[in-house]
């Protein structure tokens, strides 16, 4: 039973927001994910994930100051909520359970 629905990309985004703490806004999150994961993220995908999770209550947002490199437009900072942390935690535990359930014979497999 899926209690906290969280896609793979959503999970990455949520984690990154948590990592960035006070500094998590659209472009910053995008840069962070791109530098850590060597994948390119479109603003569309990111923003739609952020808004979706905001609706679900995993995130809250707050308007920040404008800056010159944004042409004076305000940043929208996202912060993870306790509920969002719970979702991450839940997801992590589901995975850990699965990891722990892998039999020795399989987990000993190595490819080098």
């Amino acid at each position: 039973m899926k209690k906290f629905q969280l896609g793979e990309f959503e999970e990455i985004v949520l984690l990154t927001v948590a990592v960035l703490d006070q500094e998590a806004y659209g472009f910053g999150i995008k840069e962070e994910i791109e530098s850590r994961q060597e994948r390119s993220v479109s603003i569309g995908a990111l923003q739609s994930a952020l808004r979706r999770m905001e609706k679900k209550g995993y995130l809250t947002s707050q308007k920040g100051e404008g800056s010159t490199e944004r042409g004076g437009r305000p940043k929208l900072f996202f912060r993870i909520t306790a509920y969002g942390m719970k979702a991450l935690d839940y997801n992590k535990n589901v995975r850990l359970d699965l990891w722990n359930a892998i039999p020795k014979s399989v987990s000993n497999l190595s490819y080098d």
Binding site: G26, S42, G44, A45, S48, R51, E69, K75
Partner: protein, 875 residues
Amino acid sequence: MIKRFADIVFKWYCRKDYYLDIRGDLEENYMKHRERHSRRIADLMFLKEILLLFRPSIIQPGLNFLFSTNQSAMLKNYIKIAFRNLQRQKAYTAVNVLGLSIGITSLFFILIFIESEFSYDKHHKDGDRLYRVSTEATVNGESVTMITSPPGLKGRILADMPEIEASTRIVSFLGISKNIMRLGDRAITETRGYLADPNYFEIFNYPILYGSRERMLEQPQSLVLSKTLADKFFDEVDPVGETITIVNDYGTSDYAVTGVYDDRGINSHMNPAFVCSMNSGQIGRYVVGNDRLVGNNFLFTYVKLRPGTDAKTSSEKIQGLIANHVESPENAHGYLPVTDIYLHSSAPDQGNIGGDIRYIYILITIAILILAIACINFANMAAAQASKRAKEIGVRKTFGALKRMIVTQFLGESMAITLLSLIVSIAAIFLLAPSYSSFTGKEIATMQILEKIGFLVAIGLVTSLLAGSYPSFYLSSLKLKNILGGRSSNSAGSFIVRKVLVVFQFVVGILLIVGSMTTAKQLNFIQSKPLGFNSTNQLVVPLQSEEVITQLTKVKSTLLAIPGVQAVAGTTYTPAQFVLSDNLFRASPAQPSEDGIIIRQNDVDSGLIEVLGIEVVAGRTFDESISGQADRSIVVNEAAVRALGLTNESILNNDIYTEERDGVVGYNVIGVVSDFHSRSLHRPIDPYLFAMRPGNNMSSVIVKIDANNYQRTISALEDRWDSLFPTLPFEFYFLDQQLMAQYESDQKFAQIINLFTTVALVLCLIGIFGLTSFTVQQSLKEISIRKVLGASMGNIYTSLALKFLLLVGIAAVVSVPIGMIVMTKWLELFAYHINLGVSAAVFPVLIIIGSSLIVISYKLFFAARVNPTVILRGD
């Protein structure tokens, strides 16, 4: 610019409360790309982000229906089917998209061109109340409209006609003469200079960058520069107060720069490079002290009427008004709206630059025809698909699809094709924009293209509605039992519609070929027609300044000493220039001067007639060794002899008479030369005389050179010139090139016609290809049965080709007479032109027949090789 466009789109679809901060992210992202990439790449990446942002959670709630499942299911199915169909029939899609995009692209460029042609003089404040005063005179029994008027007219009409709010005059530094403008060691040659009354810039609005609009033309010897010209002398600094020396035929004098106006991006029939105050130099002083109301028509008078004045009534009053002050006011005056001058004033002789409204109409017609052909192709081919799509429609109808739904589906499909064509067109427009600019000399900015995108989309929509309506209504009205019963789905009626459409295409094709062949022939005729004088290996060297003109003898002897130079002679007008100087001549002093005929007069050196190689038919030419009244001796052409009502014998060694300042003067005719074309072939040969009066200033020398080593001769000429006049640049033209320049607009016209004829022909062929494919497809069974019964390839080919030849025949009957009438009208613009022969009618038809036969053969070649059993097996 792409970025701006993308932003507008984004702003439109994005949720309002999300826009600002996402836009901020986009900006930051854009700046990051800008660091590493070119602007274009960064713009495109920006566009990509915008496209990827189109998601249910970001778009406005109002647009969400696009993602809703219920309503869109059917839509999705239509789109899926449409794209499957397009994919399955790649040739069909390609041909359609190609045709439509050619049509849309051509239309776009024609429209951009027309738009710019119509933009002339639209910037003046109250431009609808500005008029240029013209003069209607009678010359050699013909009524002639001159765009110039007498110097005293302005003062008179301003005083006597209350409806005239303001008036200003300009004098061109006669378009033919060059002005050398000098500042320090920088010298620039400029032709477009005017003298103007002080209120010039109050009537004609240009943004003033430096100086005072009201006062900058008040003082004598003031000079106002255009921004373009100012930039050549000064680097972005205020030039007011600087002194520029202007050197031209009238002398050398200093002008003080009093202002700069912005001419960039402004189209005007005057198109001045600089404006001097009227009260300057010899001509200026002549104008200021001149109040003649008749004659001396050498300046341009503009009036600004008070609001609500009727221009026609006002202009008709002028002649009567002048009658109060002058005994015989022989000329009437008219007004031409300033906004119409560029396109409607056809006075190229009088130094008028301009477009031609007739060419604009022709271009509009061609644009419409091209789009029409593209639409017809489209409709034809879509209808031709009917047989393939009939089963699908049958199934849809069985499942309860309404006629309306099927119409929507097929309109949607035609829109899909239009959309593809639009994308192709926009790409093509961007690719072709530089060629367009270099061909027309009109810049075309990216922004201008983007501004037109909305318009292109509109064209696309109209196209798809026009082109898609026929097949969609036709297909949706198919009877279910016919379709699924396997009966042929073609009624006779629908086939006739298609035939009419194809005939229309043939008609257009033939018309365009007639047009392009005739223009090509006429231009070829002009280039090869003997002009009555020798124009090859003749150099024209303008005598740019008074300094040179006074030393003419020295110049001539110096140039003649160069090996390779055969002869040198001075002339006031070269054969490529309009002879401004004329006078009324009569055969006997007793005749009244009104009965005289106008003879154009050119003052020349003794050797000029020989240098040009004009044939002498009676008498002799000028000879300096024969002493006597050289200044009263003239050589006339045969047209002058005829116009005076004399013969070569009776005129020789006799006098003809004209009125001069000190009464009637007789000129002794010492020779008659055969008629030569002193004007472009648009015009008949005028009565003409050569004189050798002392004190008349030559404007150029004509240098006859050897055809061999002419480059060495020219560089020797340049060396000598530089040693004689170190401050003046050496300039020269080839006479034959100068002559060809008279036909530049005709040549441009021919090129445009040829280009679009080719486009239209390609479209026609695509159409023929489409229809043949269809016919062949339809007749596959017939062909197979014939083959089974023993018909040869030849028989089948003949029967099919005959069907098409019949259509071409009908088209020929319609189009040939129209083409003949239109082209005869065009040829009448030339006083000397070719006659349209039978070949002008036959060749275009043969070309159309030939090309359609090729297409038919190609199609049939494949159709006839199909094994009959494959086709007949199904029945």
